[in-house]
């Protein structure tokens, strides 16, 4: 469905990416997802952000050492959050500006909100120029504001222009265009927009 926050997130990411080239900026982030709750732990999320940074500039030596050390331990173990955060903060500080986008924060397990937000605040303390873009259901706003009191909130509501373009796109794809007249088409768009403004 195109009128969701997820649509907005992907648009924002691409728009940030377009400018990233000239400004030497790194855009990293993640789409949280109900279906991936088990996998999307704070550790894996921060690891994924670090992975994106590493994909940009190459693997630093201290990361190779940490990997080798972890593998040598009994059975090999995954990275710990504290170690990942250390490496992530070093990586972010080494780039002029990093933009972090986390979509649908509320689709993570609720008990992880504070851990994720705390990690982001940690990054911001170290690199105050970092920009953080978050989306989520309205109730998550309280959590976000607890960690970042000056958060700017933009409500995403169905916008009449967005809906008009979407309806027109759907009408263009109608499988029986001969059954459609200009009057009918205009009526469909008008009625849908009226119904939405009454909600």
């Amino acid at each position: 469905m195109p009128l969701t926050a997820r649509n907005i997130s992907s648009l924002v990411i691409d728009s940030l990416c377009d400018r990233a080239h000239e400004d030497n900026i790194a855009v990293i982030g993640l789409y949280c997802d109900f279906l991936s709750q088990q996998e999307q732990t704070t550790t894996n999320i921060m690891g994924a952000l670090l992975k994106q940074l590493v994909g940009r500039g190459g693997i630093p030596d201290h990361l190779r050492v940490a990997f080798k050390k972890a593998k040598e331990e009994f059975g090999g173990r995954g990275p710990r959050l504290v170690d990942l955060m250390g490496m992530l903060k070093i990586g972010i500080a080494a780039i002029p500006q990093v933009l972090i986008c986390l979509d649908a924060l509320d689709e993570c397990v609720p008990k992880r909100f504070s851990e994720i937000l705390e990690s982001l605040r940690d990054i911001l303390r170290e690199s105050p120029g970092t920009r953080i873009f978050l989306t989520g259901r309205p109730h998550v706003g309280e959590d976000v504001q607890r960690y970042f009191p000056k958060t700017v909130v933009i409500p995403i509501n169905p916008n009449p222009n967005d809906i008009r373009s979407y309806v027109e796109m759907r009408l263009d794809k109608d499988s029986e265009p001969e059954a459609m007249s200009n009057d009918l088409r205009a009526d469909i768009v008008r009625v849908i927009l009226e119904k939405i403004s009454n909600v």
Binding site: S9, L11, D14, V27, E39, P79, V140, F148, K195
Partner: protein, 100 residues
């Protein structure tokens, strides 16, 4: 695998530069030797997910957000750490039920 990844990156005209981490993970060449390190860091593949979301995206929707003064000011970052966070609040599927 490297070849497939490169193709994904090449098909992405608006974001095809190395500075773009959302894209560069796909296009940056990670050697076979380094692949286990990347897997160790995290099993998540956010760049692949982004490719999926953007292909389903309906273009034009949400452009208004990029024009808001809130977004522009956040992006410029002149307020420093205080204005570092922008939160877009909305219900997923908003609009969906109305259009069904």
């Amino acid at each position: 695998m490297a070849q497939i990844s490169l193709n994904i990156g090449d098909g992405n005209t608006s974001c095809g530069n190395i500075d773009n981490c959302f894209n560069s993970f796909n296009s940056f060449h990670i050697s076979d030797e380094d692949a286990p390190i990347m897997r160790w860091l995290s099993p998540l593949e956010p760049s692949n997910r982004h490719q999926g979301v953007r292909t389903e995206r309906f273009d034009g929707v949400g452009n208004w957000l990029l024009e808001t003064s809130e977004f522009r000011e956040w992006r410029c970052g002149e307020g420093g750490a205080d204005s570092a966070v922008l939160f877009c609040s909305g219900n997923p599927g908003v609009g969906k039920t109305y259009l069904r």
